[in-house]
Amino acid sequence: MTNETQRILKISILRYNPQVPEDKPEVVTYELEEADGMTLFIALNDIRERFDESLKFDFVCRAGICGSCSMLVNGKPTLACRTLTSKLDDEISLAPLPMFELIGDLSVFTGKWMRGLNERLETWIHTKEGEKKIDADRLEERMEPALADEIYETDRCIECGCCVAGCGTILMREDFAGAVGLNKVARYKIDPRDKRSDADYYDLIGDEDGVFGCMSLMGCEDVCPKDLPLQSKIAYMRRQMVMMKDDE
């Protein structure tokens, strides 16, 4: 129905298959006619179907909620599925998200990294030893409505890894928990159902791989696709941990 000429997009993709020993990383450029409402999800599928069926990338929900498709779009970490090409110049560069194990082309193994992080920070509700099992037949424990909302705010993280890719600290300290990790600890810290003490949290993040490693460059917050207030969460945890130190 529209008669206006569509732009021709030049999409350059950093391609590399680490499974093939002789393969070398190279940038390959594909030319594609833009369509109305085109996202990088649509564009990449188009490229795969029309130009190179071996192109690797990860999409799951394609709606900006599952965190699978993070990549560098013109150098900036973001979710590809909800990036409209109309908001970009006609020359677009795509590269895999750094800091994570590369599976091939734009596909990275963020899941493995996040699983390791969750294990290390024990991102689950810790009950007190000896506390009796919940009786799910009975009325649930009450919670202040405002507190439930506050916990949900921090619970909105989708583990996409953009904050890790945008972090300056992690370049120097590869074991840094990152904004994703520190935000999670802050989430459990405000949750009264989690019975861990400040000392327990201090053991987890009271060092330079934790809350004292952050250099406050704020890259994480700039690139967070969910607009989480990561810096204030890190600052909150740091204050808590400093107070903890003072108490000692």
């Binding site: 192109l55 690797k56 599952c66 965190g67 699978s68 493995k112 024990e122 649930e140 009450r142 989708i158």
Partner: protein
């Protein structure tokens, strides 16, 4: 040959699979979970609006209980559901939500005192009770008598999935990511596990288990436009079908959600309408009250979707280059409400449509959303024909939803079915008959067979086919001919054309000759399997010459209880065939708690079964007698259809509510 042994193999890492895995682990069984993607990226995360459980804490939920939830579910299913399963489900849902609350889900809570709500496009003030303060609240959803859908803003599935996966990590459940189950290992009617393929290296691994559970979600991606994640391709159902032994139930029962955005088909939650949003047409006119004066926008999903298409056919759609659509208007709810309770919707509108839904209406159209059909199981989640194969969640048809699922009942079902099926599996694993004595020879046969199939896909062929054109052709046939309104002519064409595509798909040649990470390769074998499922759907729809729930035949508009109060059972006994075997399993009216009646939408088009009236009279007199004797609702229910003894013992208890307090 790599072989891994475990007690229980779970295929699928969404809510159902995770809950099942943690349940069997808690019972002391060893478990391995296979998943295509990291569990937290599963499609369960996309469930926005909420989970039904009859807690009845909020003022608009007062008086709610299992009986009301049961009635809504059966009516919603157009009497296709298994009533015992529905009873087990409604009794377990409150326990499921309370358990999740203890595990960290930040459910939105009741706040005492006044708050504003929009009901029937008018502002009203609701007053919440003091004693309910801090308990889990609920919102309104379609097809329910009470406000029963519990939520966390509109990120319910996300919060639930994260809490569940975290719990799985706490329990140190072995999760094998990026592993795809390729076939089930079975012999003589007994399932022994699965052959799986590592999607990064291409390696095939045999997983051997006493019990194998498929929890891979639905098969929505056989349609061109679906709200489903791109991984919802029905591979769990397909590998069950390919055993030739396991059966699928009600594959033609496909739900279309009224409000997915146009053109990309991403969902906007039913919570939009539950919270007071309305549907309008090209003239900005609110049309639903004309069609459904009582429930309006909050009629059941199948009904709203059909009314929208009818209205578009009446020339009232909004024209766009992507076809006609209607508007979902939530501006009336106000910015504050939208930014707090519908923020995912707002983000989606901003990212994909470039509009602010607090200012402008959202372009929507009914879109494929949910698979009521799936692997046919009994109430324990076990296949009726393949011992040791279990299934739960959307992948299964145990059959909670019949021919139409209520909004909010699916996330609820994922967790509830995971809880119940886990107990039944653990019980089974504790019996001597669960022990297996499978030979490595048999394992090798299955692994070799998969290897050979993969290698054949790479072989050069004459008139070779490519997977993508075949997939697009299938997707379009399903959209055009097996959609919301169906008729015999289109369905016959669909079946014939899909059969043709299936035959062609046997001649696919993968151009990139590598068996390692290779998207062309997985697209090739998946399209072959998706075509089989698509044929099951189309064939089931063709042969079901009646209209029931979401299956609407223009040439057979009546719900025909006389001939079709049954379940469609599909199997594929011979892999060289190009058509499935379709049979029917009767649904007994005589043992029902709630015999078939009028659903209450439009005009009554039922061709009744004579047993319906007999059973209804029986129930009425039984109820009258019992109530005269002072029986409570539990005793009455028990007399009508005893189900409690079939629940795992740990879930047989009653549920406490504010006005049904337990004595301490």
């Amino acid at each position: 040959m790599r072989v891994a042994y475990t007690d229980v193999l779970v295929i699928g890492g969404g809510l159902a699979g995770l809950r099942c895995a943690t349940g069997v682990k808690e019972r002391g069984q060893d478990v391995i979970l296979l998943t295509l993607v990291p569990p937290k990226r599963s499609h369960s995360a996309a469930a926005q609006g909420g989970m039904q459980a009859s807690l009845g804490n909020s003022i608009k939920g007062e008086g709610d209980n299992e009986d009301v939830h049961f009635g809504d579910t059966i009516k919603g299913s157009d009497w296709g559901a298994d009533q015992e399963v529905a009873r087990m489900f409604v009794n377990t849902a409150p326990k499921a939500i309370r358990e999740l609350a203890a595990w960290g889900v930040p459910w939105t809570r009741v706040h005492r005192g006044d708050h504003q709500a929009i009901i029937n496009a008018k502002k009203v003030t609701l007053t919440e009770k003091d004693e309910a303060h801090g308990l889990i609240t609920a919102r309104d959803f379609g097809g329910t008598k009470k406000w029963r859908t519990c939520y966390t803003s509109d990120g319910t599935g996300h919060s639930m999935l994260y809490a569940m996966d975290n719990r799985a990590q706490e329990q140190e459940i072995k999760v094998h990511e990026r592993m795809e189950a390729m076939s089930l290992i079975h012999h003589d009617g007994r399932c022994y596990g699965a052959v799986a393929r590592n999607l990064m290296t291409g390696e095939l691994v045999a997983y051997i288990a006493k019990a194998t559970t498929i929890a891979t979600g639905g098969y929505g991606r056989i349609y061109a436009v679906s709200t489903n994640a791109v991984i919802c391709q029905g591979m769990g159902q397909a590998i069950a079908l390919e055993t030739g032994v396991a059966t699928l139930g009600n594959m033609e029962a496909i739900q279309f959600h009224p409000t997915a955005i146009v053109p990309v088909g991403i969902l906007t939650t039913e919570g939009c309408r539950g919270d007071g949003g309305i549907l309008t047409d090209v003239d900005g006119y609110r049309f639903m009250p004309d069609y459904e004066p009582e429930k309006k926008e909050l009629a059941s999903r199948d009904v709203v979707s059909r009314r929208m298409i009818e209205h578009i056919r009446n020339g009232k759609g909004v024209k766009s280059r992507y076809g006609d659509h209607l508007w979902l208007d939530i501006t009336i709810l106000g910015r504050e409400h939208i930014e707090k309770n519908l923020r995912e919707v707002k983000e989606i509108c901003e990212s994909f449509l470039g509009i602010d839904p607090a200012e402008k209406p959202i372009p929507v159209r009914p879109t494929q959303h949910y698979s009521m059909g799936g692997i046919r199981t009994d109430y324990k989640g076990e296949s009726q024909t393949l011992k040791g194969l279990y299934s739960c969640g959307e992948a299964a048809c145990w059959d909670l939803h019949g021919f139409n699922r209520l909004g909010g009942n699916s996330v609820s079902e994922t967790v509830v079915s995971g809880m119940l099926v886990a107990e039944h599996i653990a019980d089974f694993c504790e019996t001597p008959e669960s022990e297996i004595d499978i030979s490595t020879k048999l394992i090798k046969e299955f692994v070799d067979k998969e290897q050979a199939k993969l290698e054949y896909l790479l072989e050069p062929k004459q008139n070779a086919e490519s997977p993508y054109p075949l997939r697009h052709a299938m997707e379009n046939i399903m959209m055009d001919k097996v959609g919301i309104f169906r008729n015999g002519k289109d369905l016959q064409e669909a079946v014939d054309e899909l059969e043709e595509l299936l035959i062609r798909s046997r001649n696919i040649e993968v151009k990139h000759k590598t068996l390692t990470a290779n998207p062309e390769l997985f697209n090739a074998y998946r399209v072959q399997r998706m075509l089989k499922l698509a044929i099951c759907v189309a064939k089931g729809a063709l042969e079901r010459t009646e209209s029931r729930g979401a299956h609407a035949r223009e040439d057979y508009p009546e719900r025909n209880d006389k001939e079709f109060l049954n379940r469609t059972i599909t199997s594929w006994p011979d892999e060289n065939q190009t058509m499935p075997k379709v049979e029917y399993e009767p649904i007994e009216i005589k043992s029902m708690e709630m015999p078939p009646g009028f659903r209450g939408y439009g005009k009554d088009m039922t061709i009744p079964h004579p047993d319906s009236k007999i059973r209804q009279d029986e129930i009425d007199s039984l109820r009258e007698d019992l109530e005269a004797k002072g029986a409570d609702r539990f005793e009455v229910q028990d007399a009508l259809m005893e189900y409690r003894s079939k629940l795992p013992e740990c879930y047989q208890g009653k549920n406490e509510r504010l006005w049904e307090k337990f004595d301490d």
